[in-house]
């Protein structure tokens, strides 16, 4: 239970860091429930594929909401996301992949699983919805932000 104090005190954050903190507010989606990040693991490749990096598996969940599993693969500047959605109800979804910079917004529709290519690396959140957009039966969720 060692508790010697660290050497770094509280100081001003650099301007870019402060601006990024301010920008986080603009990324909010009021009224859209957040699926929290429940798992973030690299999945090791087999011994037969030396040199191939592990792909990454993310899982997002929240009580009373769909569970979303995202497999991240592909090259650094062209990520491929394989998205599985588990929920009691089987239905069509609309999936939007959004970056904090606002760049790259692939949208897919239909029944999962989905495969989305051309995703840019960076802070990313998936926006998931069912039902007719804008209608009372529309339901929306977003995943927690993660850096891909």
């Amino acid at each position: 239970m060692s508790s010697s104090p660290g050497k770094v005190g509280v100081s001003e954050a650099p301007r870019a860091v402060r601006e990024a903190a301010l920008a986080a507010f603009d990324a909010r989606r009021p009224g859209t429930p957040v699926l929290d990040l429940a798992r973030d693991l690299p999945v090791a490749t087999t011994v037969g594929e030396p040199g191939r990096p592990p792909y990454r598996e993310l899982r997002f969940a929240q009580e009373g909401a769909p569970a979303v599993t995202v497999e991240v693969d592909g090259a650094d500047d062209d990520l491929v996301l394989k998205v599985r959605i588990e929920w009691a109800r089987s239905q069509d979804y609309r999936l939007e992949v959004s970056g904090i910079s606002g760049l790259g917004l692939p949208v897919v529709k239909g029944k999962p699983p989905f495969e989305v290519s051309g995703v840019l690396p960076g802070l990313t959140s998936l926006l998931l919805s069912t039902g007719v957009a804008g209608s009372p039966d529309e339901q929306r969720w977003q995943t927690a932000w993660v850096r891909l």
């Binding site: 239970m1 005190g9 509280v10 954050a13 650099p14 990024a20 301010l22 990324a27 929290d36």
Partner: protein, 197 residues
């Protein structure tokens, strides 16, 4: 950095949760230095620290209307930043296992000593019971100081609202009290020394 008292903090958090950007700016003014200090204290690169800092603020955006105690948003941010730092460090340490089955087996973790693990679990229960009998203030302080790496006293001061000068003496009193409670749990003197080291 603009200090906020408990009442102001609760009001500012509520306003930000309701969509008031000016309130969000007040939170950033009050706590961006703390979040930055926590990330830099983990000795991760400046780029990773920037990422962690932004992710921490995004986590607050995601959870701001779900905070158990809005007056403790500073502690929440510090804990979240620390958790995100550990995630970054954990990701950097992970490597791809490449080699033959025999080579991989040689590098595998040693077999688990079940007896030792059970003893550890039993001790963990004893420590948790002992901790639960301490005052809330002592529990908060000791848990915070047990973080790895431990926060600086300046961070502790900001998170718990304690003067820096009182942290050391309070920690000493809390540890003495914890030792008494560990003794009451039947943990022997030599073992208590190790646990409290």
């Amino acid at each position: 950095m603009s200090r906020l008292d408990e009442k102001q903090t609760a009001e500012v958090v509520a306003a930000a949760a309701a969509g008031d950007r000016r309130a969000w700016e007040q939170l950033v003014d009050a706590y961006s230095g703390l979040v930055w200090a926590v990330t830099r204290n983990h000795r991760i690169s400046a780029a990773d620290a920037s990422d962690v800092s932004q992710t921490t603020w995004l986590r607050l955006v995601e959870h701001i209307d779900r905070l158990n105690d809005p007056t403790r948003v500073g502690a929440w941010l510090a804990t979240t930043a620390r958790r995100e730092c550990l995630r970054v460090i954990g990701q950097a340490r992970r490597t791809t296992p490449v080699g033959t089955d025999e080579e991989l087996e040689d590098r595998a973790a040693p077999p688990l000593d079940v007896d030792a693990a059970l003893l550890s679990l039993e001790e963990q229960g004893q420590v948790e019971r002992a901790m639960s009998r301490l005052s809330g203030r002592c529990q908060e302080l000791l848990v915070l100081l047990m973080s790895d790496p431990p926060p600086s006293y300046e961070e502790v001061s900001l998170i718990l609202g304690m003067p820096v000068g009182s942290i050391g003496p309070t920690r000493g009193r809390c540890l003495r009290r914890l030792e008494q409670e560990l003794a009451a749990e039947g943990i022997e003197h030599a073992r208590r020394d190790i646990l409290l080291r």
